[in-house]
């Protein structure tokens, strides 16, 4: 049945009175929405993860400098990798 009326369903979906769309379930109105939201969510998670990783590294560096009693301003701080490689 679905195959018989695939074109008809698409035609009706596209050209039936526009206002009718407002009462349809969101999933039916915007079938692409689920995937897009999922993609956006994943992208946000990745960006947030990168941001948090950066923050953690900065915090780790700060703790390390404090432990070593290095009296440095933030601009003078070396990168974390430099300090850790020096300690090794």
């Amino acid at each position: 049945m679905n195959n018989d009326f695939k074109k008809l369903d698409a035609f009706m979906g596209k050209h039936a009175p526009q206002a009718a769309l407002t009462s349809r379930p969101l999933k039916q109105q915007y079938p692409w929405m689920g995937q897009s939201l999922l993609a956006m969510g994943l992208a946000c998670l990745i960006i947030f993860g990168i941001f948090m990783k950066g923050n953690n590294e900065n915090e780790s560096a700060l703790v390390l400098y404090q432990t070593l009693s290095l009296d440095l301003t933030e601009s003078e701080m070396p990168e974390l990798e430099e300090v850790t490689s020096f300690l090794e």
């Binding site: 049945m1 018989d4 009326f5 074109k7 008809l8 035609f11 009706m12 979906g13 596209k14 050209h15 039936a16 009175p17 206002a19 009718a20 407002t22 009462s23 349809r24 379930p25 039916q28």
Partner: protein, 164 residues
């Protein structure tokens, strides 16, 4: 969830949520926007009066559509031999696409039952179960009727030159 009562505010909320769908269904049934507007008012007046008797045997939406469809059917029975006046102004016509007009014309060529079924399915996006509740017909029957209705609509639209 909306609590049912007969207060103005509650009924205004019911009207706000459902008037668009009810009017659209009635327009699909009658093919005339002015008449659909009048019948929508009538349907909500009837609903307002009947609201205290609404016994939660069905959902409020199902019940409202039942009320509206009965009003639409009454109107169609009374005006069976009347030709329907044109529902669109020139401006409205120019805004509506040829396809949309063809759909509306095709629907008017169908029997009332078939038309109502297609309107609920395509315009309101109702599922088979919901349509069966509104029309008080078993789901299996709705399924087979919908198949036939689609076939009829497809034939008319193809005759009008659309590849559907």
């Amino acid at each position: 969830m909306l609590r049912l009562g007969k207060s103005d505010e509650e009924f205004q909320e019911i009207y706000r949520i459902h008037q668009g769908g009810v009017r659209r269904t009635l327009q699909g049934m009658t093919g005339n926007s002015s008449i659909a507007e009048e019948l929508t008012q009538e349907a909500f007046i009837k609903a307002w009066k009947g609201l205290p008797l609404f016994g939660f045997q069905s959902s409020l939406k199902t019940w409202l559509y039942k009320v509206a469809i009965n009003i639409g059917r009454d109107w169609l029975r009374t005006h069976k031999h009347h030709s329907l006046p044109e529902s669109h102004s020139i401006e409205e016509k120019s805004e509506a696409s040829a396809e949309t007009q063809a759909i509306q014309e095709a629907l008017q060529e169908l029997q009332e039952e078939t038309r109502t079924l297609l309107v609920l399915h395509y315009y309101e996006g109702m599922k088979l179960l919901e349509i069966s509740k509104v029309l008080e017909v078993p789901v299996g029957t709705i399924k087979s009727r919908l198949h036939g209705a689609k076939r009829s609509l497809q034939k008319i639209l193809m005759e009008k030159g659309f590849n559907v």
